[in-house]
Each structure stands twice: as C-alpha cells, then as structure tokens.
C-alpha cells in the first residue's frame, strides 16, 4: 500500500532529528505530521484529527518535551496518552437498572453486526450469572429472526419473537415475557437502518419510549470510514446512546472509527467484537486501541519495556554518576545486562525510533556482538573498568586474549566508550531530566 507503517515513518523523521539535542517547534510539527497521516490512514474523521493534533501540539511544545533528551519518544508518548484518554481512560461497564428486568437495545447501520453482538453479549451475561432473553425485532431483513433463533439455540438462551409484527409491540411483549419468566436482562436486536431514514429512526425512539432501556448500544463496524461521525451523531441525538460496541476487530482494520465515534458522542466504547464465534466479545481497552489506531504497537511496547525493565535505583545511581561524569565500564556492564533482560537485542533496537535496519547492519548489534563486549569488559580488572584510561597497549593485548577477541575489538570498545562518555558529559551539563539522560546513555553506545 502507499503507506509505510507509522513506526518506520517516525523512525525516519526522528533519525533526522537525532543529535539535535532539542527539538524546535518545527521539528515537533514534523512528527505530528506523521501522526496525522497515521490517523487519517486509520480512518479517524478528518475534523477529529485536526482537533486532536492541535491539542497534542499544545502539550508537545511545552517544556516537558523540548527539554527531554528523547523528544521524539516523548511526543509519541503524549500522543498515545491523549489518544487513550480520549477513548475513555478506563473501562465502562454495561448499564443495568436496579429494578430488573434491564433492557438493552442493539442499534446501528445494516451489516454492522448487531445480531451477532447481541448473541455474544447474552452469552457473556449468562456466564456472569444473569438470565438474559434475546428479542428479535428485526422484522425487515429476510431470515433475521431465524438468525437470532439459531444463535440462541447455540448458546442456550431463549429467544422471544413474534414474527413480523410491529417491533414496538414485540419489544413490549418481550418485556412482559421477561417479567413472567424471571429474565433479568432483555437484549433487543433491532433491524439495521440508515441514520437518515426518519421513519425507521422513529421506530427506535418508540421502542425506547415503550421499554425504557438501561443501555442502548450503537454497534459500529471497525472498517467504517469518515461517515462514522455522521452515523454516531444521528443515533446519539435521536436515542441518547449509552455506549458503543466496535465489531470485526479481528481483521486488519485500524479502527479509527472508534476515536471518531467517541469524539462526537462522548459515549464510551464498552466492548469489541473479535471473532465470528459466540465467545468473541471482549471489554474495550483504550490503550490497546490507541496503539492500533496509530499502527505502532511495537514501539509503545518498547517504551513500556524500557521503562519497566530498567532498575530505577540503579538508573538513578548512573544518572548521579553521569552528573559527575564518573560513568565507568562497570556501569556500562550493568546497562548491558539490563538491556538483555528486555529481549533479543537486535529486535529491541529495531523498535527504537531513529534506528533503522541499515544502521543496524553497520553496527552489527546482534547478541554475539554484545557477548563480545561483555567478554571484553569481564576480562578487565576492576581497576581497569573504573579507569579505562590506564589501559595501555599491553593491557589491551591481555584483555583481547582473555576474552577471546582481537585487539581491534578492544580498541573499538574503548574508543566508543570514551566518545560516549564525552557526549554524556556535555549532556549532563544541559537541563535534561535524569530519566531522559539515562535512556540516551543506554542506547547511544551502539550508535
């Protein structure tokens, strides 16, 4: 396709920015431009994207980012945070009324997945100890009632139907039926309809008035494009939705509609559909959805990994040493082992923005290369590790022999180390936060 994924595009952008120390507003714009493309590619509504980018920009040009030593990651992190928040920081539950039976209506466009979702939800509720009743109110699509009946049989949940009578009457009768049969949740499957079909929208309003639902769920196909906002807005205006279900997420749709729908209705996304089978319904995770929409799960995972795997205390010590420019090969050794605990090194570095495959090859940063570095450091005396400047020609020979490497390898490591240290010294003079400094220290040795 015409688009590369966001991770690789961002890598490109950030590569250009690397070594700049700080980002100008223009640099931030560059990153945001990539984010904007990613959001549009994911089908987030154009206007929603515009507002979102403006909002992120405000935050991203603040001190927090510009003074950071990993500003690229910072911007991405902010985008991720904001996206997650926009989609509803925490999980929202299905609304049930205190006085059963609770009525839940499934509404949406044709082909969105209402009937299937209704079945899945009934199954989930049953597993939680409820006694749901499914109600067939789609009297229009051929065999829609039959579809619900077959599903009901599969999941062993009763289905209430009255043929092709008026859906409002069916809903009312179903409610009475539920009362008599002790069903505490009534799930109404309604016919798919266009949000601009006044007559059919009125039918939904009447059902709502007749049975006073505790929740009304708009079922939205994850593949929906720009029109999602019009659809969601109309349904919400006419019915006052309680929440949204996003279906067909088991495909490769990035699901930008989730963001659009949330943005225009303010209503939480409560569930996602992830398979055609009846067990394919999950609670919605805003953070996962944010990564998916951005198309960059990998990098966010890396950021998380890096943060959690690094021992905070050790990191602080290193940071303190950096400030005094006392960083030694021993500390370096520590960092190496921490990095190893995060997973295969080449894969890890591949996920870091600013590192591209070409550079990686030149660096030969594979596990064996890392092992070499470790072996070299291990062959040094503690004194040598603390004060590498004392390592002269004969010591280098000894270290090479002891570690099974060549003198050139030892030379190269020492040179890289002193360069890095030099750089760290300069950086520690700047206003960067210890956190940012730490990360830079960790990765820059491989550059």
């Amino acid at each position: 396709m015409a688009f590369q994924n966001l991770s690789s595009r961002l890598q490109e952008t950030m590569r250009k920015l690397r070594g700049k120390g700080r980002l100008s507003e223009k640099d931030v714009d560059g990153i945001l431009r990539e984010i904007r493309l990613a959001l549009l590619e994911a089908d987030v509504n154009y206007k929603v994207v515009k507002d979102f980018i403006a909002h992120v920009k405000e935050r991203a040009t603040g001190h927090e980012v510009l003074s950071s030593l990993t500003p690229g990651q910072q911007v991405v992190r902010i985008v991720n945070e904001e996206l997650t928040q926009l989609m509803g920081g925490s999980q929202a539950k299905l609304n049930l009324s205190s006085k059963p039976p609770s009525v839940v209506m499934m509404v949406g466009l044709q082909g969105a997945g209402k009937t299937t979702t209704g079945g899945k939800l009934a199954r989930m509720l049953k597993a939680q100890g409820h006694r749901p009743l499914l109600v067939a109110c789609d009297i229009y699509r051929p065999a829609a009632i039959k579809q619900l009946q077959v599903l009901g049989e599969q999941i062993e949940i009763p289905v209430f139907s009255m043929g092709e009578q008026n859906p409002v009457d069916i809903a009312k009768a179903a409610y009475a039926h539920a009362q008599r049969h002790n069903n505490d949740v009534v799930l109404i499957d309604t016919a798919g309809r266009l949000h601009v079909d006044a007559e059919l929208m009125e039918e939904l309003v009447q059902i709502k008035e007749a049975v006073d639902p505790a929740d009304i769920l708009l079922v939205v196909d994850a593949m929906t494009g720009q029109d999602a906002v019009n659809v969601a807005q109309s349904f919400n205006e006419q019915l006052e939705l309680g929440g949204v279900v996003l279906t067909k997420l088991d495909g490769d749709a990035r699901g930008g509609a989730a963001l659009s729908v949330k943005a225009v209705t303010g209503k939480p996304i409560k569930y996602v559909g992830i398979s055609e089978k009846m067990d394919g319904l999950e609670p919605f995770h805003p953070d996962r959805m944010a990564s998916r929409i951005l198309g960059m799960g990998d990098m966010l995972t890396l950021i998380e990994k890096a943060v959690s795997a690094v021992d905070e205390e050790k990191a602080e010590k290193i940071a303190a040493k950096l400030r005094e420019a006392e960083f030694t090969l021993e500390d370096f050794q520590d960092q190496l082992s921490q990095m190893k605990s995060m997973g295969p090194i080449d894969q890890l570095i591949g996920m870091i923005p600013g590192m591209n495959a070409r550079q990686l090859q030149g660096l030969e940063v594979d596990d064996s290369h890392l092992k070499k570095i470790e072996a070299i450091i291990q062959s040094m005396t503690p004194e040598e590790r603390r004060r590498p400047e004392i390592i002269g020609g004969s010591r280098r020979k000894r270290i090479a022999q002891g570690s099974g490497t060549r003198v050139q390898d030892v030379n190269r490591l020492l040179k890289q180390f002193s360069q890095t240290k030099q750089m760290l010294k300069q950086l520690s003079g700047s206003q960067g936060s210890p956190r940012g400094r730490r990360k830079k220290g960790m990765f820059s040795l491989f550059q």
């Binding site: 082909g111 229009y140 266009l194």
Partner: protein, 329 residues
C-alpha cells in the same frame, strides 16, 4: 430470450441505460442530499465564486479525504487539478469544478466495464466480500434483474456458516421466483458450488449466482476455502467464471484497499459492487480502489429492495458527488 437480447441488442441497451442513469442518479442525489454538512455542500461551497488559489486546493483535498478517497488518491487528484489549472490558466472555481468532475470520471472509467456479455450458458457470477457488506442482498437484486430479463436463474446458497444465511437467500429466491441450490447449515461450501454448477448445466439455467460466506480478508483459512470454492466452480464449468464481484459497503474506509488486495490474491476479481450508497457515506473509497488497484465498480446498491441495483455510471457518480442537479448535469 430477452436476457440474451438485451446483452447484445445495442439500441435497447442504450435506452435502458438512460433510464437507469436517471434512477441511479436520483437515488444517489437523494442519498447525498440527506446530510447537511455532506461532501456535496462542502465542495459546492468551496467551489462557488472563488479564485483558484492554494487554499482552495487544500480545502478540496480535505473534502476528498472526508469522502473516504484516502490521502494518496486525494493528493493525486488535487495535483492533477493544480497541473491543469496552471496549464489551462483556470482562475475561477466554477471552471475548476467541472475539471474535477472530469478527472474523477476519468479515474473511475480507467478500467470500467459493464457486466461481461454472456457467451455461454450458464453465465456464472460469484459474489464475495467481508461480513455484512451486502452480498446476499446484492444477489437477490441481481436475480430480480435477470428474472425481469426473462432469464432462467439459479442461486447457490454458498454461505453455510452464518446463522440464518441459507434461509435468507431462500426467502429472496422464493420472493423473486427463482431456483435455489442449498445444502444443510455447516456443510462444505465447495460441495454446494459443485452441485450448483452441475444443476445449472443439467437444468439449462441461463445464469448461476453463487453466494459465499462473509469473511475478513486476513483469515487465511477462510480465504483458502474461498479459493477452493472458486477452483471447484472453474473445474466443473470447464472455463473461467464470467464475473467475480467483490461487494464493498460504501461506508467502508481505507480498509477496503486491504480487502480488495487480499480477496484478489484468493480469487480473480472482475469488479466491485458498491452497496449502501443510499446512506450519507460517499463511497469515495472506490476512487482509491481505481487509483491504487485498478479495480472498477460495476454495480451500485442504493436500497434494500429488489430494484435498488444500478449499473455503475462513472460520470453520474462523479457529478452526484458534487451535487449538480440532473438538469444541468
């Protein structure tokens, strides 16, 4: 038989197309007029009484994106416009508008072709697409059209997976009064296809339309299953199918590109049937499909009734996008 005559009889064809365009256009305009802040008014607003400048191009790009054209295609179209505005010294927005309609029409007509002319009985159409796109309904509408043309139609209930799918197609077949081949729910769709082709041959059907289960294009085993069904049809037929239509919901965004690409890898698509154009979605994704994958639209669904199926007309579609009324179109 009228069906065959229509396919060959040029005079009749033109007449019918004129009627169809009118119906198609009206439905489209109706759909497009339903939304107040739609693309139509938007573009009309942008394109009325203005000087041609960079701001105008940017707003146009924006409007195209909002119609689901996708960024690459929006940029492609606007670049084309910029180029023509420069070389043809276009300074008024109204003039630019007709150039835009021209460009969109040209793009949509690049690989356009009507449904293939029947050469041999049975004329075989297979209908594929993701879940809920409108496959079964489109098949009902096609059956109705062929039946109107006095063709002997046979439908095959190839969706043996989704609950109620066989019954759904059965209802359509009974309503329209055409024949149907079906197996029990959960049976092998390739076996249904096998029986259907042989039944069509034995009964002397003019047309065979095969339904298939909706499937997401990323499900490898389901795509393999589809490829197998196709192979069986081809083998039993002793030749290629006449049409393999990918049904795309007009509401779909950029994922339609992935759909088209991956369905194309499983079976040789011959075109697109674009459904649900009676809503407010503009179906701009077909511009991206034409631009990036050279796939043309053949049919358009504009409602849930039998008669709500139209042959695709690129210029009518392009004009309808911009809200020009029929009279001055």
């Amino acid at each position: 038989m009228v069906f065959w005559k229509r396919m060959f009889g040029e005079e009749k064809k033109q007449e019918q197309e004129k009627e169809k365009e009118q119906g198609f256009f009206q439905k489209l305009v109706q759909g497009l007029e339903k939304t107040k802040q739609g693309f139509v008014d938007k573009v009309d607003g942008i394109m009325t009484g203005r000087k041609v400048d960079e701001e105008l191009f940017e707003e146009l790009e924006e409007a195209l994106i909002q119609a689901d054209c996708g960024l690459p295609t929006a940029i492609f179209l606007v670049d084309q416009l910029r180029e023509r505005a420069r070389s043809e010294r276009i300074t008024e927005s109204e003039e630019l508008k007709s150039v835009l309609v021209e460009e969109i029409t040209a793009l949509l007509e690049r690989n356009a072709a009507p449904l293939k002319t029947p050469e041999e009985k049975p004329y075989v159409i297979m209908v594929v697409g993701v879940n809920g796109a409108g496959k079964t309904t489109t098949i009902g509408k096609l059956a109705y059209r062929f039946k109107q043309e006095k063709a002997k139609v046979l439908l095959a209930a190839g969706d043996t997976f989704r609950a109620g799918a066989i019954e759904q197609l059965t209802v359509w077949a009974n309503r329209i009064g055409v024949e149907l081949v079906s197996h029990a729910a959960g049976s092998d769709p390739a076996a249904v296809a096998y029986d259907a082709v042989n039944a069509a041959k034995a009964r002397g059907s003019d047309v065979l339309v095969l339904d298939t289960a909706g499937r997401l294009q990323t499900k490898v085993n389901l795509m393999n299953e589809l490829a197998k069904v196709h192979r069986v049809v081809q083998r039993e037929l002793g030749r290629d199918l006449d049409e393999i239509l990918l049904v795309v919901d007009a509401t779909t965004g950029q994922n339609a590109l992935s759909q088209a690409k991956m369905f194309q890898e499983a079976v040789p698509l011959s075109g697109i049937a674009l459904t649900k154009l009676d809503g407010t979605a503009k179906g701009g994704i077909v511009l991206a499909l034409a631009n990036e994958l050279n796939l043309a639209v053949k049919l358009v669904g504009v409602g849930e009734q039998y008669e709500d199926l139209q042959d695709f007309d690129a210029s009518a579609f392009a004009k309808a996008l911009f809200g020009q009324s029929r009279e001055n179109a």
